[in-house]
Amino acid sequence: MDKDKSTMLALLQLLHKYNFKDTEELFRKEANLIDVSIEDAQQSDSEVNSVLSAYKSEGDPALYEKSYGELKKFVEGSLDIYKHELGTILYPVLVHMYLELIYNNHSDEGKQLVEKYSPNLEEYYQNDLKKLSHVTKREHMAGNELTDTFKSNQFIIRMSRDTLSILKRYLQEKKHSILLNIIQEHLYFDMYEGVARNKNQIEATSGALVGEATRQDNKAKVYYGLLKEPDIQCVPPSVTEEEEEDNGGPDSDKPKKKKPKKDPLFSKKTKSDPNAPPIGRMPLPNLKDVDKLEKIKALREASKRVVLGPDSLPSICFYTLMNSVNTVISAEIAEDSSLLAVGFNDSAIKVWSLVPQKLRIMKDGEQLADVEREAEDVLVRMMDEKTAETVRTLYGHSGPVYCLSFSPDRNLLLSCAEDGTVRLWSLHTWTCVVCYKGHLFPVWSVKFSPHGYYFATGSHDKTARLWATDSHQPLRIFAGHYSDVDVVQFHPNSNYIASGSSDMTIRLWDCVSGNQVRLMTGHKAPIYSLAFSAEGRFLASAGADSRILIWDLAHGHLVAALPSHTASVYCLSFSRDGNILVSGSLDCSIKLWDFTKLAEEMSLEDVNVSHNPDVKTCTESYLLRSFGTKNSPILALHFTRRNLLFGIGRFDAS
């Protein structure tokens, strides 16, 4: 109430100062402040400004260091069980003290404070502190992404009831107004009942730009189950039969019967999953005949796939891009492993055919008219034989191409670039079909939905967006990240999009409602890669902190952290049967992880919603193998339908 009043007084004073007489009167009336004279408020001009902005200039700059020092001493001297939880307030308090000092032109004191205390803070905060330390003037604070974020958001800290009451008692005793103000204004305590967390538990989820996720953030239900596979065999019997006849009955029959036995994944899919989203929740495109044929083909291939495990590791075929130092940025392989697209620094895109079949251009209109439409191989006839090439180049962007994505039917390719546009390319005519302009800044990531039609993008403008290929406007704009959205990924059921950001959080967005349904913190550096597990429940993420984190989407909990790489991890992929997770990094190595074992050992049953379960960090027991390449950082990893692993890397001769 007091605070409200002072704000109003400040406002009143401002109105008075600029001579808005009518407004002032009106305001006085409404705020019940008629008889309060401006002099009573006894506030100077500078104070007006500071109330309006978030930082007050009250207090002697020398007091900051003293009160921070005392706070630190208090934290260190408290009981061991509360110590670590109390410790979490040190970083935000230091940051806001520094910003207040800078704002009030006490840069020297600010510098001194940060120099003295920042080395004691956690390693993963040092990067942000360093960035913050560049800001030494009030003018610098305007437009600085980091300070803006701190200024306009409360830093979220989770605390047990006991710890919080200890903290409150301390604050009341000491009555450091500076400290009190900062804690009131800029910190948000998400209180929970129960035992205070230990150091490891806290460290697991801290590190994000604005603190941890509140309990509320992860309460919504997520339908992480897979959609029911359309029953292709039964629906168009004619198609299936034809197919079977084509391939000679007995041969094609066999694998299909075997399928359910061989691969439990398939049988699961045909049953309806309790966690799957209701049918029709997200409108998906209807399957065309061609798509059905493709599905059948995929299933048949899948029946021949090797079941991977610690005893049967995959083979890796590695494609090295030669003469590509500083020119190649991104690479992507089509779902059926037939095409490879590579994005270049000089705005070009190249598409290679990885199979003997060459890349052809569709005939022009006149010639197409001559093609017999009823012919069985009409699709082949439409293509011009004379144009067969193993590699084709697409020009259109005007900046480095950061990400590429093939449509599931391989007719289309999406690309996003530094020029802020997303382009859709036809792989029949080999031309750009649509240019989606919506993002204002470089677009870092683009992903086609596993069902086609929709795609998602993430950009430097801090938003992720959902688009449909036939619309110039985005269908959804997911805003909430505090920094660049570096990577987006579709959930296998197309109902959700996960986004990873430079604010070190991962968010899960519901495509249908547009809401954020999960907020996951724990990364200590920007996130560059996301992958959903085959059964849809888990999310693997990795990035510049060289660790791979595994998340349980049911509650948004971090379940495992796997450090082993020595440089940023840029690609993750699950094997088709979901047994193995592979990661590829700039340290020129590919690592295989035993995901089956990991999933088995996770204590998913006794999950307490408010508590993060213990995080598995035992790298040794899950790391199956590590394969080094010869000076070739890994750009992409892809499992074929038969579980052969493809890796793409660019050779750095130096």
Binding site: P314, T320, L321, R625, G628
Partner: protein, 576 residues
């Protein structure tokens, strides 16, 4: 708090601001303004660089490029600074003077007209190479094949580290590229052993490979041999077999020197050469076996059964070049290989009159290969005594054909390798008399050679007199300058009592101090430094050597080449 300084980093100096201000026409910028500007500009620069790192990371790189800066400027709505393209890195030059330090980019001014006028010419900028795709197996069913496309299982740095500090990487990278079960087993074994034992298991394939390779190297089929050498010099996965290879070579030299089997010795030296050339191997750990073998082939009194007929000189030449390559690659301030090798050779020279001529030749050649400084310091002072010795061989009535032949070789060698050095040492007028006085018998021809060398302005091409194989040449950049006369160092290295010990001259027996052959430790006149060093290096490998012997499938090495030598006998390998 001393390390806190970098937290606030640097700011631009006010002088820079003033200079920049002047360059855009602002005459005298007040100090206060310059200071404020400097601080602000520094902050803005840091901010831009921070943004640029985002572009670098999204470009999946670890090095910031000029493009990243451009893109960061673009997002801030600032016109990028066009024209600063650097493909890889910007080559800043450093200059200092008057207490100032300066970093600048050295940029040449390019005359466009010139470039256009010679369009298509040799100086025309080259087009960048097309990006292309190349596929290989990184791993097959979880096992990484050791092919040139894959990194070597144990990198050269690790091998190097291992040779310096064997315990360091005991436990690291145990499971790289090896089946899981096996590596687990290994780890368990290691935890049980108190002593750090190196277990070197060779897979069946590796055993087969070893057998094939060694047979091919000393066998009679030249085509196979070439293939084998090719494999030895290029395959990345030989690390584990290296210990055995080196033992094979050492044992081979030991036995075939006694038997005077020139062909086999040449093949073994070519094996050493191939291993040296292999970019993924680090041989330091095995030098204690290799160096004595190589030195033997340089200075042994007799290397072939018919010294007057066979060209054992070629083997000496080849081995000398190998020695020089070893010195070049592995000489460090701690092992002093070059110094020690030089000492061996020069001691042979010192005992001029007792050394057999063939050994003398070897010693001179060995020294000459080590570079012009060595020639200057150690060979040239000896020329006179050497030439006296040659003279007696040529002129003396009781000298055999063999001696004459050897003396002739020494003479040519000296003239060839010493002349270029003398050219630089002596000032132009070359008088035969002077030469004769200074260098004795060999003076006059030397003088002509020097005079001739002066007329050819270019440096003398390091022609290899006799090329043993087509791939021998590369090594020497050093100019083969030479002239010498020698003194012998006989290496009798047979395992039992040395049958070679009979020659009248003095001999130097260099022995490998190996644990399983304690009987041979009777070092007659041994360079102490050399020996101790060898022992030291030997220690970590003792196990390897032993394990070789215990490998039943491998233990029959000696037979391998004994039998081969019978088949092969003396089809002179030098003709090829």
């Amino acid at each position: 708090m001393s390390d806190m300084e970098p937290m606030y980093g640097t700011t631009l100096s006010t002088e820079s601001m003033k200079v920049i201000a002047e360059s855009i026409g602002v005459g005298n910028l007040p100090d206060e303004a310059a200071k404020d500007l400097a601080e602000d500009v520094s902050y803005r620069l840091k901010e831009i660089i921070q943004d640029a790192t985002k572009f670098m990371r999204q470009g999946r790189r670890q090095k910031l490029s000029t493009h990243d800066i451009d893109h960061a400027l673009k997002t801030k709505n600032i016109e990028p600074t066009y024209g600063f393209f650097a493909k890889d890195h910007i080559p800043f030059r450093f200059a200092s003077g008057g207490g100032r330090e300066l970093h600048f980019i050295e940029e040449k001014e390019i005359d466009l007209n010139e470039i256009i006028s010679m369009a298509g010419g040799p100086n025309w900028p080259k087009l960048p190479l097309e990006t292309n795709l190349r596929a290989h197996w990184l791993c097959i069913d979880g096992i990484q094949p050791t092919i040139p496309e894959n990194p070597p299982p144990v990198s050269k740095e690790v091998q190097k580290l291992e040779s310096v500090d064997p315990i360091s990487n005991r436990n690291s990278n145990a499971n790289i590229g090896k089946p899981g079960g096996k590596s687990h087993k290994l780890r368990n074994v290691e935890t049980v052993h108190v002593k750090q034992l190196a277990t070197h298991e060779l897979s069946v394939e590796q055993q087969l490979y070893y057998k094939e390779i060694t047979e091919a190297c000393v066998g009679s089929d030249e085509a196979r041999r070439v293939e084998a050498f090719q494999s030895l010099s290029a395959d990345p996965g030989l690390h584990e077999m290296l210990a055995r290879m080196c033992t094979f070579i050492a044992e081979g030299v030991r036995i075939n020197v006694v038997q005077n089997n020139l062909a086999i010795l040449i093949y073994l030296m070519r094996m050493v050469k191939a291993l040296l050339d292999n970019p993924s191997l680090y041989l330091e750990k095995y030098l204690h076996e290799l160096i004595p073998s190589v030195v033997t082939c340089i200075v042994s009194k007799q290397l072939c059964t018919r010294p007057e007929m066979d060209n054992h000189w070629a083997l000496r030449d080849f081995a000398s070049r190998l020695m020089a390559q070893i010195c070049k690659n592995f000489n460090t301030s701690t092992n002093n290989i070059q110094t020690r090798v030089t000492r061996i050779f020069s001691q042979a020279l010192a005992k001029n009159n007792q050394t057999p001529l063939a050994s003398l030749y070897g010693a001179i050649h060995g020294l000459c290969e080590l570079g012009s400084e060595v020639i200057k310091a150690l060979v040239i002072p000896k020329i006179k005594s050497i030439s006296e010795r040659i003279e007696t061989c040529f002129e003396g009535s009781n000298s055999s054909n063999v001696d004459k032949n050897a003396a002739g070789h020494i003479k040519t060698l000296l003239i060839k390798s010493v002349a270029p050095v003398l050219k630089t040492l002596r000032s132009p007028p070359d008088y035969i008399e002077e030469y004769k006085q200074e260098y004795g018998y060999i003076g006059p021809p030397l003088c002509t050679a020097v005079a001739k060398a002066r007329t050819q302005p270019t440096t003398i091409a390091p022609t290899t007199t006799i090329s043993i194989t087509n791939n021998t040449s590369q090594q020497q950049t050093s100019v083969n300058t030479n002239k010498t006369i020698s003194q012998a160092v006989v290496l009798g290295a047979s395992r039992g009592t040395a049958g070679t010990a009979t020659s009248g001259g003095q001999k130097f027996v260099i022995l490998q101090s190996r644990s399983q052959t304690p009987t041979t430790q009777q070092q007659v006149q041994q360079k102490p430094t050399q020996a101790t060093k060898l022992v030291v290096v030997c220690m970590p490998n003792a196990n390897h050597a032993q394990s070789t012997v215990t490998q039943s499938s491998l233990s029959s090495k000696p037979q391998v080449f004994v039998t081969q030598s019978n088949v092969e006998q003396f089809s002179n390998p030098l003709e090829e």
